[in-house]
Amino acid sequence: MPASHIDLPLSNDPAVRILPWIVGLMVYLATMTLAGGLLVAALAANWSAGLTGTVTIHIVATEDTSAETLDEQVDQAVRLALKTPGVISVEPMPMANVAGLLAPWLGDTAGTMDLPLPRIIDVRIDEDDTDVAALKSRLEAEIPGAGLDDHQLWRDRLVTFLRVMELIAIVMVALIGITTVSVVVFATRSGLAVHNDAIEILHLIGAYDEYIAGQFQSQALTLGLKGGAAGSVAGIVSLLALALAASNLDTGLLPLTLFQTWHWPILISLPFAAAFIVRQTAKHTVLRALGRML
């Protein structure tokens, strides 16, 4: 039976007094890490969704190809695409936009230079009904220099990046958890050593191990909740501050608006999860130590 009355002066222990600070710090770090992981996942999903349902036809110009020929080839590719089942819309990209894409490498004058710029055609498709491979084959067979990019390689890299980021977030949260558990084990063992005489008295009077462990776990739960709540509030305030700062940037680099409604309960549950881990760790540490007593 767990203790309902605290017989041990655990709150005076230096190692116990520092526990809420450690738990608070760990919950803060876990909140920020988890938020980062969720944000990256949402960001990647957003990018991936932007590419889903689109393919790009490109026609590479050679030095021998005239602009008129290229225009004809673009028209031919558009007709060919439109005849393909599942294609929703076909839109050649204006040359100014193509030059804009190349501007970081060739400078702002890329469009005015006499360079054989490729032609690009955006095609929106219904992925379920479109045979992309067949379209690609026909384009390559009928139009010299034509090709089709379904962005699969980029998407694969994005998914890999996403998985790595998620893995890093999981590893970091796990490390934070392990650190928290280690600190609690240390604090509990310290408490056991400090109160060894009192614990022995309780033991010899007939206290069950659960009664003595209950003294530690009640204390640990209270301290875990206090520290966890403080860390969680600090973490959420930091996220809101980041969101505010990012909105001022207006670059879309840190789109905290991608945070979903269901992300918040996960973050808010962190201090409760931390307090539960702290409680269980203290309980099992004490039970294990008591198990060595007669």
């Binding site: 039976m1 203790a3 009355h5 017989d7 002066p9 005076n12 005489d197 009192a198 022995e200 008295i201 309780l202 033991h203 010899l204 009077i205 007939g206 206290a207 069950y208 191990d209 009664y211 007669l294």
Partner: protein, 222 residues
Amino acid sequence: MVRFENVGMRYGAGPEVLRDISFSLAPASFHFLTGPSGAGKSSLLRLMYLAYRPSRGVVSLFGQDVTTIQRQARSKMRRRIGVIYQDFRLLEHQSVFDNVALPLRIAGAKEDQIKTHVTELLTWVGLEDHVGSLPTTLSGGEQQRVAIARAVIARPSLLLADEPTGNVDDVIAVRLLYLFEELNRMGTTVIVATHNQSLIDRFKHDQIHLSQGGVEVRRVDS
């Protein structure tokens, strides 16, 4: 009630402090535990209040072999044993009331019952004015009475006292022995370890005499 069969005990890898101890005590009996210093009186008591395991032999309490019982059953058995330690072993951070209430709380008694019984017992031992005091603010004799009250509050079947008169004058020592006799009359088996020969002479009870690791039970002439 208490049965030792060829019991040996050693601390760690040290020499045996008790060797081939065999005796049995009837329920509701009263014994003095005597012997020279270092004879093993405290060690024998430690075996009885289940602080240590014998290194060999069998110790039985209440008809159960204490070396083979389950952990929870051992805790339950401890609740039937009241112990008065030579150094009292009170919880210094807790009030007199909470120290005495400890066995009842551990046994899961209700707070209103605890309050009634503890208040009654503290009045009986003359500490009604020290209910909220911390043990460190009390004299040695008062701390001893707190320790006694804690040992008897749950009406133990077996009461073990380790030099209970070591820190008090003769008048209080005699009063303590009367108290133990009263508990004994109510059915508690009492074992009092003491060096106080005048008390042993005054209160005619059987003796468990330890010497050089061996034991002898001396009966008093009735």
